[in-house]
Symmetry: none
Subunit: 213 residues, 4 copies
């Protein structure tokens, strides 16, 4: 009978509060975009403002943590799907769960170009996601389930694009994204396509934007 109260109790609260905060923040950002205030997030989590800052040193850190959470989830899913039997189905499932994860998230598109994306951990997570997406795509490609000129990074980018396509319908038709996902998938395995224009992206460029100055 191993007793584990004491310091463990505090740590348990810590973990619980971190979860509360991430949950509240994920929800709040999803609903109202990055403009929700830290104060509101605190309130939603039922905690004091100071506590938010104890867990996340700045708003950008919080945003970064949320992105990280999302990216890790997607990478995990992709990793698992690499083991699937049907490569075409695997890719479809990856995209399905990817767009679904984004589906209700207003903050997602606003975060593009923000410092949160520059956090080393986030950059690393993005790169990992692109890599595993590339592996998934390569398998599909080899099985003729996806056109040759499409990369894993294309697939990752499409997640956001599909989400955004359906975004204005969100309130009226929460599943509308499925429609555009299907459309994209159809575009992805056109049999003898004309080659796509522009360089196929190999990764997401995350350097600091060249400040005009």
């Amino acid at each position: 009978m191993t007793e584990t109260t004491g310091t463990a109790g505090q740590r348990a609260d810590l973990v619980r509060n971190r979860r509360l905060l991430l949950g509240a923040a994920t929800e709040a950002f999803a609903e109202r975009g990055v403009e929700v205030s830290m104060g509101e997030i605190a309130q939603r989590a039922g905690l004091a403002k100071g506590t938010v800052f104890r867990h996340f040193a700045s708003k950008d850190d919080l945003l970064a943590a949320i992105m990280l959470q999302l990216l890790d989830r997607l990478t995990g899913t992709a990793d698992r799907l690499l083991q699937a039997d049907d490569p075409a189905l695997a890719l479809r499932e990856f995209m399905t769960s990817g767009v679904e994860a984004l589906a209700t998230d207003r903050a997602f598109c606003e975060v593009v170009g923000r410092p949160s994306l520059q956090h080393p951990e986030v950059r690393e997570a993005i790169n990992q996601l692109c890599e595993v997406a590339e592996a998934l795509t390569a398998r599909a490609r080899e099985h003729g389930a996806v056109r040759d000129d499409v990369t894993g990074t294309d697939i990752v980018l499409l997640l956001g694009g599909i989400h955004q396509t359906a975004a204005p319908l969100l309130a009226a038709q929460p599943q509308a994204w499925r429609r555009y996902l299907e459309l994209a998938l159809d575009g992805l395995h056109v049999p003898n396509p004309r080659a796509l224009p522009e360089q196929p992206p190999r990764h997401l460029p995350l350097d600091d934007p060249p400040e005009a100055g």
Copy 2:
């Protein structure tokens, strides 16, 4: 009979200032998203802050005016393309100019769900755009250039989606949207497609979002 600059001159100034403001605001919102301050917009236009508010009663009104401008431009283009000989090409050109218009615009996705979209004029303009896009799509459909189950509203939504897909590449590859436009077009005229899931949208629902309360 040459008019002395009197009231007429003032009106000319009014028009000129409005143009300056819209130009400056369009640029500013495109580059930095909706978070640019009214002060910066005034500065970019070379006018005083008070003047901005004389022309646009609030920031949301200004955003609405800019949306309106964009929507009217797109509607105009679509109108013109309705006269084109090749319906398939016409649709492609509409989408090309549509995505291009969005291509460098950071504010575009952030405006979704904002009160600016609720302005009656904007709603009306969105509906008009969807209608003319529907006409354009119908013609393409009849010529077998587009699958049956795709609506004009789908096409309008795709503009934003394609833009968003390429957005993270913007700095590195400003033309990357052409890649995803091509992919979407390929999806749009798959020969014998499985029907797309979910209701085909007939218009954009623009009701006040159900305030979580």
Copy 3:
């Protein structure tokens, strides 16, 4: 009869408010040190918080402006005293008015080492003050009214030192600084003194302190 209302009226208010703010801030900092909040300064000036920031972009800017005001006043005094007949008396009067200017100022010593002192204008003003103090000292030196090994910068530094000596007595004996000024002056024209140790300072070093890190 030159009419000068109109834009001039606004500017008049601007100037008036700037004066109100500098006055309020000077008083507040003097009484309670640099820790007084911008909010309190606004209140004392009878203005809104935002107005303080319109005039002074940051608290350090405000502090800098106050230092500048003080330094310019001292430099002006010194300049005028350069014309005086009696060099010894001139130096004494300079120091008197200098210490008196500092006499009620709690913020003065706290500002040492703060970024406010790094403002280019403040640095320049400090250097100017040291220069004119040197001129004043040189004249006194030539007339045998001050020992040879004392510089203008020594004199400037002494102002703060004399002030600080009397500071704890301020409430009980507001003029106590005169006592320590006299003592310092006696030290300054000891007839055949042993040379003072340490390098005589030629100017105040105002470089950024070498951040440990």
Copy 4:
């Protein structure tokens, strides 16, 4: 009979922690002024924040404890120097060690007028210091080594003043205070001085400052 570490061990820890804290706080306040946070002091001491508050009920208490430490040290030094053979040298040594103790301390001048100085123990310590300084000064006076109209409290006040004079040079010339100490000493034994103006202070008045209300 060797004591097993029990309550005694705990008490030893208590003493040790108090020492750690005083050491860390002394350093921190000296380097960065009274604005250092309790958190940083805890960190420097290698202890938790809660522990700081167990030892010192408030930040002002901690400041008071540090002042007390300094004052006691000076009083001790003065006490010892009362036994010295040469009264002039004794006074010089007292002042030297006094200014040296202050020399690197940024917090010192900021504490003037703070509630920390109102702590009964601190007031008592200040009075003791003034008394023993008076004794030291009296001896020097009797031997003609110091002018008649200078009190022990003058001497104590001069310590802070000399320190402040050199403070702006601290980074560039850490020993600059020796220069101003010498200057002050020269002022202190001018042979036939004019009497100093203002009441010679007999003690430091430490009443609550008359709150402007």
